[in-house]
Amino acid sequence: MADKPRRLTLTRKYQLMTRGLDWETTYQSMDDVFPYDKYEGIKIKDWDKWQDPFRLTMDAYWKYQAEKERKLYAILDGFAQNNSQLNISDARYMNAVKIWMQGVTPLEYAAFRGFAMLGRGFRGAGARVACQFQSIDEMRHYQTQMHAFSHYNKYFNGFRQFARIRDRAWYLSIPKSYFEDAVTAGPFELITAISFSFEYVLTNLLFMPFVSGAAYNGDMATTTFGFSAQSDESRHMTLGLEVIKFMLEQDEGNLPIVQQWLDKWFWRGYRLLGLVGTMMDYMLPKKVMSWRQAWEIYWEESGMALFNDLARYGLRPPKYHEVATKEKYRITHEFWCTIYQFSHATALYTWIPTEEELDWFSAEYGELFDTVYRPRYEYWKELDDKGERFFQKRLPVVCNVCQIPIFHTMPDDPLMNCCLVSEYKGTKHQMCSQGCKDIFDREPEKYCQAYIPPQQIYQGNCGGATLEAYRKWLHIKDEETGEYYGSEDHIMWEGWKAQAGKPADVPA
């Protein structure tokens, strides 16, 4: 009698999928089959040393993900049927969701593409499989966010053409260029940038404030997709740490390359997160924690502890982290002042914080806030009360690397703009900081190609040379931009609040 076929254990399945079923090609050379995983200079001696702590198999993956999807969509259905948009703290909050949808959700899609590339690009099957799972995760996150936000699109402005403005709008070129920089690098730099620097080191500064901020502000849709993504994110973080250790253990020559990438991607990630910090400080009517406090907990404590652990591999903390720490008292205020005065060129609303919020800022940020930003807001409020709402009409200088308008001030002088210059091929390029200037100077061939919105506007590539013409080219309508108070979102919200508590209109 033949032996009854036995089911494979999960460990054995994983072993087969990541080792046993892979092979050395013979008709074609391995270098031709995997043409991109050597040119960056990273040396891998033995791909079988790759360790994936999750050891996920296909069938386990589909089972877990299907379970999460069922829960998520049940909650989203209930959310929509119960008109749960009425439960948010204030319609100003919705602008945090708009920034997320316009700026971050498209990054999930970009990550899906990036990890699909990695899932083909590495010659080690274990690494490829981990990247393929992550690629599918990222597509799922893109979809779940889109579905969660689609309910808000029925009521609030600013959601309807996220894809076009993601490609065109100046403030969205910040996240867009961040990811495009990563996917146009080689596979090892891409995975270092996204899996380690972003998902491992900085992700707490992104997800914690956003998802807990959503929960605090009554946004059950966002909270639910946040939780649904959480177990994926912990797998992604583990991949990030594994990649770093793997590269450093494989060859000692990899260390200086990896260190340089960490320096670069820490700084790029930090600059990008300034936008998230601003959202957290200014767009959450109910505050979770300030950017300053989040920076202290998640970088100064946890981030530095991580780099202490990594010191045994020879890594040091990323360059200019001290500058980022110096900026913790000002970065979100400088950013909000910028969005406030340019909000007529965004699909967002902005406002002067309430008196109570200004007091919260004073308590969280102390002297610098009280001497610099508070009087600035009070002055703008005076103008606003006179019917002269403050807008900036002239295009700003934008950093050639992080693509943020150069509102940044000098590390030791918060009262002076910092604008540094590098020359390449006879053309001068402006940067916001030594961190961004170092990135430019290391690869000027790459960054000299950057598509910088004000430059492109003046070159005649964006509909015209005025902000009005530019806004038309963005297809942003007058009613979805500018000041919050008096906006359509504001008026609708006040109308809903006025109705709440009144008896239902029952016909006699």
Binding site: P35, Y379, W380, R394, P396, P405, Q430, E445, Q455, Y458
Partner: protein, 120 residues
């Protein structure tokens, strides 16, 4: 360390090269200590424009809601070009003053140093 690449060469023109401006130049100017205007400004200008005309007719009007704007006397400005001390002749053109494409100009105006004692 230059960029690493796959293939034979990696050579692209600068996206903001002067050739893209049809004879004009791109210039960046900031009036320091007037930080209610958040960043240095960007201009596309003909290089033979007189610097004073630019300051009076283009630049100052970009600070319309600042109380210092009406009082400013550019002849008393303290100037920097590419973050180095520099003395322009206001009655000469951009090019005669050595202002090239993508130059970065800063000016401070002693006595007019913004609001609230902090350069707002």
């Amino acid at each position: 360390m230059p960029v690493k690449f796959v293939g034979d060469s990696y050579d692209f023109p600068c996206a903001n090269q002067v050739e893209n401006y049809g004879g004009d130049i791109n210039v960046y100017v900031v009036w320091d200590h007037h930080l209610i205007y958040c960043a240095p400004n960007t201009y596309r200008l003909p290089p033979d424009m007189k610097f004073r005309d630019f300051l009076e007719q283009v630049f100052a009007p970009d600070y319309p809601q600042h109380p210092d704007t009406d009082k400013v006397d550019w002849d008393k400005g303290v100037w920097q070009l590419e973050n180095e001390p520099w003395q322009p002749d206001l009655d000469k053109s951009f090019s005669e003053n050595g202002i090239a494409h993508n130059s970065f100009i800063r000016v401070t105006t002693p006595g007019l140093e913004g609001m609230h004692g902090v350069g707002n």
